[in-house]
Symmetry: C2
């Protein structure tokens, strides 16, 4: 079962539709603003990376209920025919303010705000959260590997163990944006123009009578891309066989590209393998390692002077295993020009349409201010108008442009916020205007709903 | 970006294609058997649930490279035109042995084995692991909530925070198979015929001038499905307002269905809310709770006599947050009728085509034996022929059938293996035939590759 584009209209929580029906029957068509933000940093994270906006804009541009969807909703017998008729003509006609992909942002900051007639803005909630949540999660996780690798090459190897097909695509894209050099995922290579990488698995090696036969065959078929997997039986033993094949290649005027380690104490093994190739005057063979790597294990390898030139980073990055979800929310902050919030314990939201201003010193961020959207403050406003009256206002960007933006942002961010453990907390303040309005609304809600004064 | 069915042919790791090219150029077309199994239990898990086979069979039935895929591969300049020509005619012509969905299985047991010409069997690896991994993960996680809830109702609320779109669908399906009663995911309701559930969010409540107006409006539009979210401002306060609306409904001959709590100490609040409804002679109102629930938090609520009749289970189940991936592998165990394995440290595989036999006592599993496929042992053979020569051998099953199978299996499994923490380890042995062959092959490989004797 694969979700096709035309199915996405029903990729929503049922309550979005029941709420929409209630709004419709009560003739509530006024504009609403919903704000997408993250309430808490996951473990050891000190910043977030904006990612996923492209999918959101594509979805909003094509948002509609086709006959197939309407037939299903009719069959549930929950909705009036008037309402279903209304849905059949519904398109997204609203505005979106959002941070461009690849921008760094922080907790509580709106990364995207939707303003549209409340039925529309409500119905798109589930897809928007789903579309942004994993990309932000993965870009943040992958960026940590990039920091830990200190310039060594990183390839996304996660496709087989990502949480489904769509996750595999989002991981390839988001990890590339965050500074990875490529992916093993061929479809991601095709769809996003990301460099792909990969040569052989253990099955390949074992399918030959002898390990060295497998190496020879591969060198023969791919003389320009010979990376030999040498741990199928014993890594050191495998390295000696790889040298043998590398010499045969040299005799033919070809050059081995590298070897891959995939098990054991790879930091230690990499040094032995480097030694073995050094003895054969092939010091520059690329030593690639995979198997259980994440930012922590990469950091250990780098700190212990592993002779590893590149890492295949798989499952732990591809599922963000230490923090597989975000406390991300899409909250109604304004309806019919009235600023709103809920008071549910521990889940306060910031009212009204907002903007985030970033202050910098020589390009280095020093603190952000969350403000009302109509306030004008110093600093760089991070949210741009991405959609107006249902029309896209920004050109589609390639992953390469987004990646460049992020790499520059990351470069400019102080190391204190990028530490793998216990990063400093970046300063995010509320503008005086937002503070004042927030206080007024909280007070008013308490008086009205709780009888406090 | 949504992956469409026709894109799936390229949803693979690049090395599958480079290996395939090497096999092709070296004229290696003999049959290979790959075995899918899980090496370790995730934290606190004592069993696995087979899930995902339907997607695998659908994929294999439709496996082919279309022109668009071939054009991309050509553009990479990695592959010969002969090989691309060969790919253009490739379909899956192999056999699949697999456990039916909904069966319980254990570590090291093959849950699926593919036998096909090696190029085919290799090329489908990435998709197969991806298609089985999350469903097995989620079914196992969800089954733990089912055990903890002791008969209370469970609804999948995870769609917005699942790792992408495909994950949202797989979670809805797998949690339903594992005993959940429904999902909030409308598309899953449509595609799998799963009951859907949901009424209102906080945004709905705050969009009205007063909380009670929101309740009244909903009761008016959905008199048969009135579940009121009462924690937007204050849960106890909200409960009193819900009673007021429930009384108005009663006066009209209607009946409130329930209330939902979503924040705070919900075990304590549920008792207060029950008391408030009791005073109004509405003891049977359904109290539903959501917000951060997983098997542990459900267990706490149940142990502390929470007055909660149903739980919305979201993010932590939908990402299997405490164990977001499996140590799942698809390993070559036979090529050209030769039994195979790799020796890489800590990653030993069981050679050859296999079968799993389950012994039972009055229907209760007492121990499994992993055997060679051609051995005949006592007990129930778990792997069935799901595909032969590329044709499906089993009828597609509804999720309802699969759910029933699983519920019966779960009922029969001893509690010791189902404990939420530190479950017992179920006994899985190797047959004498498999032990003997395994030993022979290990010995032979060591002699040949490592020069040991």
């Amino acid at each position: 079962m694969i979700v096709q584009s035309e199915d996405l209209n029903l990729l929503t929580d049922l309550y979005q539709l029941t709420m929409a029906a209630a709004y419709y029957e009560k003739e509530m068509f006024a504009p609403a603003t919903f704000s997408l933000f993250i309430r808490e940093y996951p473990k050891d994270r000190g910043y977030f990376v904006s990612s996923g906006l492209t999918d959101v804009l594509d979805f909003l541009e094509n948002f509609h209920f086709d006959q197939d969807a309407l037939n299903y909703l009719e069959k549930t017998e929950m909705f009036s025919s008037d309402f279903l008729q209304y849905l059949s003509n519904l398109h997204f006609t609203g505005d979106v303010f959002a941070m461009p992909e690849g921008r760094i942002f922080f907790k509580d900051e709106p990364v995207l705000e939707v303003t549209a007639p409340i039925i529309q803005a409500q119905l798109v909630e589930t897809f928007i959260i789903n579309a942004m949540s994993l990309p932000i999660t993965i870009a943040g996780k992958a960026a940590r590997s990039v920091a830990a690798a200190k310039g060594r090459k990183l390839i996304d190897f996660s496709l087989r163990r990502t949480q489904g097909v769509d996750a595999g695509m989002k991981v390839a894209r988001s990890s590339y944006i965050a500074g990875f050099d490529g992916t093993s995922n061929v479809l991601a290579g095709k769809m996003f123009d990301i460099p792909t990488s990969g040569t052989m698995a253990h099955s390949y090696v074992t399918s030959f009578e002898e390990e060295i036969d497998a190496f020879r065959a591969f060198a023969d078929v791919f003389p320009n891309n010979t990376v030999l997997l040498i741990d199928t039986f014993d890594t050191v033993n495998g390295a000696h066989k790889a040298v043998e094949v590398a010499k045969e290649m040299a005799d033919r005027g070809e050059k081995i590209k590298g070897v891959r380690l995939d098990s054991g104490d790879m930091t230690q093994l990499s040094k032995e393998v480097r030694g073995i190739f050094k003895e054969a005057d092939m010091e520059d063979v690329f030593i690639f390692a995979s198997g259980g790597y994440d930012e922590y294990k990469i950091n250990d390898a780098v700190e212990n002077d592993a002779e590893i030139d590149g890492f295949g980073v798989g499952t732990k990055m591809g599922t963000s295993a230490d923090a597989p979800y975000l406390d991300i929310a899409y909250k109604l902050v304004q309806y019919d020009h009235r600023p709103l919030l809920k008071l549910s314990s521990g889940k306060k939201t910031l009212v009204n349409q907002k903007q985030v201003f970033r202050n910098t010193d020589n390009g280095r961020p020093t603190g952000d201010v969350i403000a009302l959207r109509d306030e004008t403050l110093e600093g760089d406003p991070l949210l741009i108008r991405a959609m107006h009256d249902g029309s896209r206002q920004i050109n589609p960007e390639s992953v390469h442009e987004i990646r460049e933006r992020f790499m520059e942002e990351l470069e400019n961010l102080d190391d204190a916020y990028k530490r793998l453990k216990d990063p400093d907390e970046y300063q995010v303040e509320l503008s005086p205007g937002l503070q004042k309005l927030q206080k007024e609304v909280v007070q008013k809600v308490k008086e009205k709903e709780l009888g406090e004064s």
